[in-house]
Symmetry: C2
Subunit: 228 residues, 2 copies
Amino acid sequence: MKEGPVIASVAALLGDPARANILTALMDGRALTVSELAEAAGVTIQTASGHLSKLDAANLLTAEKQGRHRYFRLSDPDVAQVLEALMGLAQRTGATRVRTGPKDAALRAARVCYDHLAGERGVELLNGASQQGFIAGEEQLALTDRGRAFFSEFGIDLNQLEKGRRPVCRACLDWSERRSHLGGALGAAILSRLLEKGWVRRDAGRVVTFTCEGLGEFGSIFTLPAQS
Amino acid sequence: MKEGPVIASVAALLGDPARANILTALMDGRALTVSELAEAAGVTIQTASGHLSKLDAANLLTAEKQGRHRYFRLSDPDVAQVLEALMGLAQRTGATRVRTGPKDAALRAARVCYDHLAGERGVELLNGASQQGFIAGEEQLALTDRGRAFFSEFGIDLNQLEKGRRPVCRACLDWSERRSHLGGALGAAILSRLLEKGWVRRDAGRVVTFTCEGLGEFGSIFTLPAQS
DNA sequence: TTCATACTTCGACCGTAGCCGAAGCAACGC
DNA sequence: GCGTTGCTTCGGCTACGGTCGAAGTATGAA
């Protein structure tokens, strides 16, 4: 009678389809306006506005005003992580209406999870990095010396990352693969670098597409057994 | 409009106060009957029965019939983990009605999280084990050779644990401490052992109480810097 | 057989919360 | 000033879902 309700109030927020749509639309880490979110959720602007104030009041979102727009984003990577965890549960749960549309396939292959790479490629990335000794651990991840060398070479400023409050490496459970992929500051930095290098492109929504060349490069680094 | 609803349906299940109470009542890993759960949730038996069939249909619970009773338990440690994660969110979220009752204090000190130790003691356990080199990693945990020796000595059959499908070590985020404690098969085995040794006692609900002697022993092992 | 217990199903009631139309603000451009 | 755009607030409608009383099923005991 006491602790139940505390989880119920949050869960109830996530439990409305419109709000759930809003949140998943924000899972790519971008900030979106009220009207964009209304469209994503399939409701009118007034309705979306109402939902957004609730989510904001619960600190699941943060709002930022810019001129006459209001941009909303997830307030924290933790929120995204809980959402992914719920998707995982939803699958096991049998609520899986096996909807194998083309968009679904693309999502499974590679997508953005808040600000890092997820899906098949995301899992490959972490597996490859582990196999080659760049990253150690299974649930609590740590960067190895070898990894430091590699990612510096790759163009990532590790000192910079380590200054922040955010953990550098973080295992994030992938709802489609049921395995972990790499989150945290390093995960985010890698995705940025992949974009800069032109290996991947961000499409509408959370889908990430590899260029032909990018897929080759990525594969030669991460999906082959250690090539040394 | 497509992936939102999948998380919404699960979240909506968790979002009803009565169901949330039922689930948190089951978080200690025990199996309870319909009537017990009805009382825990503060609703009539018919109502509870309805909720339980929904939770069961969603595979969040598993039912087991024994005579004229029906026992329900959480279907999986994963479910408990998501619930703990939600509690964490609920806190950050400001839904924190800071209710510092005596029971709350006891819960914070030591409690059962599905089947392993959580709360201050749980976090101490993992910290101590890490500091002394029994367990390596930060998010992905692994047992070290030294840890194998120690826990065997402690009375745990590690070979047995490693046979099962369940991961031996698992970091589980503690909602009250905002740090990880040790879950997985090893976490469960340690709690059993603590009970067997008479170091701790399980009270009503999820509260775990240390005996005077038990607290001393536990402390000398886990809360001091390595005593070697 | 009869009664008691444990639970499920049915039916009806009621409240809450989501939804939209309309109106009200606020920021920007002209 | 006026009009447009982006968003919020208000009011009323509606429907979904939680709730309980009552009746029905199953197990076990006397």
